[in-house]
Amino acid sequence: MRALMKTIIVLFALSLSFSLSGLAHGQNMQGNADLESRAREIGKSLRCVVCQNESIEESNASLAADMRVFIRERLAAGDSNEAIIATMQNRYGDYVLLDPPVQANTYILWFGPALLLLGSFAWYLFRAKRKTVAVKNQPLSEEEQKRLDDMLAEGRK
């Protein structure tokens, strides 16, 4: 009985701390599940600029919490997801985007590996072809022919 009571108290304390942390981190847009899910989607695509490789949705940093609040404010004011992400990009640069955008300075990042693969394959084909051609078109020189004849003659003896 005491064990049961203990469990109930612990569970209650846990649930309380979860709901409190939700409030403290500015993650509640009560009564608007649609905006809240959009806010989380935006939050997941933005990097917490003080923690390097965490989205602002996951981060416990206070700046990330303030950014989550900002996202919700803009959504409530009627901004589109793209507009909010563009605002953040204008302020913090490309670094704030967790997925690097496809643009002039990232072409090498996006297309480099494929180009390298195709390039190496083309290189391989080119060299392989040239080698067969080289072997086909090279008759023995006079001297080599003479050496071969000598060896064959030696063998027949």
Binding site: N90, Y95, W123
Partner: protein
């Protein structure tokens, strides 16, 4: 000989790639690009740390202003502070403090203890101006010209050397602009 040199080309390409990537690794990704240079200072309306009421962009008008983001929780800010006190004594530039993520009491006490170099201090408890400026870390400073346009960004502690060699000359240049 000819063929074996050509065979080294893929290796050379690989080596070049390695070198380029190795250089990339030495760069600190948290040193953000200066997105704000030559942009107008963001619109703001924030509580005056000292006294009542809100302060807005009018505090930037007519003066070359060094906007400095600081927090009482920020250890490098305490290192930077004596330099700001010296800059204030030269009267070369107007200093605007942005007290970030602090209660007003903490901010005021800290300035009382360390001295107050700022003409105005804003209380940005919830990072609204800080976010608009694209600031991730404190201290960070922006030099704003007389028309309210950001002209220079200094990341990290302003040293006396940085002031004398970069910021002060730039301030004089901006002061000469009409």
């Amino acid at each position: 000989m000819n063929i074996s040199l050509k065979a080294l080309i893929p290796l050379a390409v690989f080596a070049a790639l390695c070198i380029a990537l190795a250089i990339g690794l030495t760069k600190d990704p948290s040193e953000l690009q200066s997105m704000m240079i030559d942009k107008p200072f963001p619109e703001f309306s924030l509580p005056n740390l000292h006294g009542e009421g809100l302060l807005g962009n009018e505090v930037l008008e007519g003066n070359v202003t060094l906007v400095n983001v600081f927090g009482t929780w920020c250890a490098p800010c305490a290192i930077e502070h004596p330099v700001l006190m010296k800059i204030e004594q030269t009267k070369a530039v107007t200093l605007l403090g942005v007290n970030w993520m602090d209660t007003r009491e903490n901010g005021r006490d800290w300035l009382k203890k360390h001295g107050n170099p700022y003409t105005y201090t804003l209380s940005d408890k919830h990072s609204s101006l800080v976010q608009a400026l694209g600031v991730a870390k404190a201290p960070e400073s922006f030099l704003v010209d007389k028309t309210g346009r950001i002209r220079y960004k200094h990341t990290g502690v302003i040293t006396l050397k940085a002031w004398r060699e970069v910021i002060e000359p730039l301030t004089q240049k901006l002061e000469a602009e009409t």
